[in-house]
Symmetry: C2
DNA sequence: GGTACTTTTTACATCGTTGGAACAACGTTG
DNA sequence: CAACGTTGTTCCAACGATGTAAAAAGTACC
């Protein structure tokens, strides 16, 4: 059924290795033989057995991408870009979902044997430093997104503190004085980064920080954003602006505001984070921090490729990719 | 660096094959030896080389999933479920994106050699019958979603015609008489199915069909939905209800209605299709056809597994998975 | 103790590919 | 024409695992 090098070789009347040489573009093959081999290749429809080739070469041709859940728009979009970037360099991507739980993240990390994949891009959510394999025997890892953890591995992300600062400064520049935040969550590294940016922007704007205005969110999903927003709006003195730690929370917040009969941005201005595609179409459209996801994906693939092909032991890199504040209706009106 | 069976065997003082036997749960191993091998396995941290094992077994352990784009919520959600379902059966999933173009779909299909993956789930958008490999030499394929094409391969989907019928009947039951549709696209199989359901529901409700009320959409993305809705609303006699062929179009339509200063559902009722997570949070929340995506993913994995492990030549199956009409604010008010 | 049988272990070939060494063919040169 | 370097090809081993079959060890029975 399946065509192997041997079949092609028999048909072309040369040795297996010569066929292999043609397939791999080895220079010194007699034109006559090359032609015959190529004909035989075409005639049989030969396709190399990737497994065998990789066994021999000690590579698998696969990269793993570990994310919480593909159904979360940010990760769906990112995964799509990672796959595209990987494909350009000849890698195939295998996706592992962890639901953002530390247990599953740890399990996934330790299951990424050197035989299954050549390298991995991991986007941890709850992982701690202790969970990372300390012996360097494993495969190259690149961490995506913010790490609270201090592990010596390659890392790509935007400057979360700065981005949060920019978002909140924007709200302050509109003259808002009671600026709340939604998304506090001690288990998530990203949360503390964005919180830091939030605080520094408040300070810079001469506003005071108050714990009451920082709503927690167990998960950064729409429903939790709505719930958090409702509790903020029923405070004795409710906020006139909210910085949500991601767009999903913000979408939930938009709904909560509407359900309470208030208006965005007149009564409450809202800024999100991630620039999900849906956020350009919400009513009102969401002002948000827009990370350059393409740059993120490409930088990550770049780093992991470099680690795999040589440069094994260069010092860990820390790459920052650009972002922009995308101003839309939720802070500026229509 | 890497631990192989040989290393474990040396450490345990037995042959390679005995270790292999222990690893694979072969029954006849002396308890004493089993213990020693297990200790050695633990001590060395042995992990089987998947590539080598698969080379020997003639399997790769991978399935491919071909979708247009992960950044489209429906496919992000579906891919997540497929990966989860596959993992339960011990498969890893490789994702290929085609951007929904026939050229890339065809290319992807033909590149799915039997060595890279053991089977594939394909969600074509523009593919035609001629593009499918006619010789049965390849790997098992399962088609997801609607096929306009008549190819003898396994297939899982909801009943699109019926679902569209249900959606439109719901609009008619609200007393709407000028029911439009958005999403006509001759290049997409799904489009004609949903259009058929739309027409049959109009007939059943005693309403007349009019080409003017069926707006085309080159892509089923939010922006195209907004554009289509705008053109419908500027007709001499605009619709009082719209059936959008997917949720993204509907989300775009919601925005267009709002931008023209009209209200949903008072002026125009809107129904979508797919039940994306975001649709429960749009303003107003979207009434939509909710396919059971989990059932879809599991049925697909089930079919492809069965094909791979035996049952090679059973007649092609056609599995229909359930759906429901999810009624929300866009047709019922808040 | 010998025979027949079962249980346990091992040696060997094999999956499809590629790296390296060995070999063959060729044209050049002294 | 012998010696040599350059090209082109083949042979063999190896990647790490498992299936097969044969060898070894153990058990039961006469």
């Amino acid at each position: 059924m399946t065509v192997t090098l041997k079949d092609v070789a028999t048909l072309a009347g040369v040795s297996v290795k010569t066929v292999s040489n043609v397939v791999n573009g080895y220079a010194f093959v007699k034109p006559e033989n090359r032609r015959r081999v190529e004909e035989a290749l075409a005639a049989t429809g030969y396709r190399p057995n990737v497994g065998a080739r990789n066994l021999r070469r000690g590579r698998t041709g696969f990269l793993a991408l570990m994310v919480p859940e593909l159904s979360i728009p940010y990760f769906g979009e990112l995964a799509g870009l990672v796959i595209t970037a990987a494909q350009k360099r000849g890698w195939s991507v295998l996706i592992e979902q962890t639901q953002g739980t530390r247990e599953r993240e740890r399990k996934t990390l330790s299951s990424l044997g050197p035989h299954l994949v050549d390298g991995a891009l991991v986007h941890p959510e709850a992982l701690e430093a202790a969970d990372f394999p300390d012996e360097p025997g494993g495969i190259p890892l690149v961490m995506l997104g913010e790490h609270a953890v201090d592990v010596p591995i390659d890392h790509v992300a935007i400057d979360n503190v700065l981005a949060a600062h920019v978002a909140v400064s924007h709200l302050a520049s509109l003259g808002r004085t009671r600026i709340a935040a939604i998304g506090r969550n001690p288990a998530r590294g990203t949360s503390s980064q964005r919180l830091a940016g939030y605080r520094s922007a408040l300070v810079e704007a001469g506003l005071s920080y108050s714990d009451t205005l920082v709503a927690p969110a167990e998960k950064w999903h729409r429903g939790y954003g709505a719930a958090a927003m409702k509790s903020l709006l029923t405070l004795p003195s409710p906020p006139d602006a909210v910085f949500c730690f991601n767009d999903l929370l913000a979408i939930g917040a938009l709904r909560a505001v509407a359900e309470l009969g208030l208006r965005v941005p007149e009564d409450v201005a809202i800024v999100g984070f991630d620039n999900n595609e849906e956020s350009a179409f919400s009513l009102p459209a969401l002002t948000t921090i827009a990370p350059d996801k393409t740059a993120l994906a490409e930088a990550a693939i770049d780093l992991v490729s470099r680690r795999i092909t040589g440069e094994k032991s260069a010092p860990p890199q820390d790459v920052q990719t650009p972002f922009a504040l995308e101003i839309r209706e939720s802070t500026k009106g229509r």
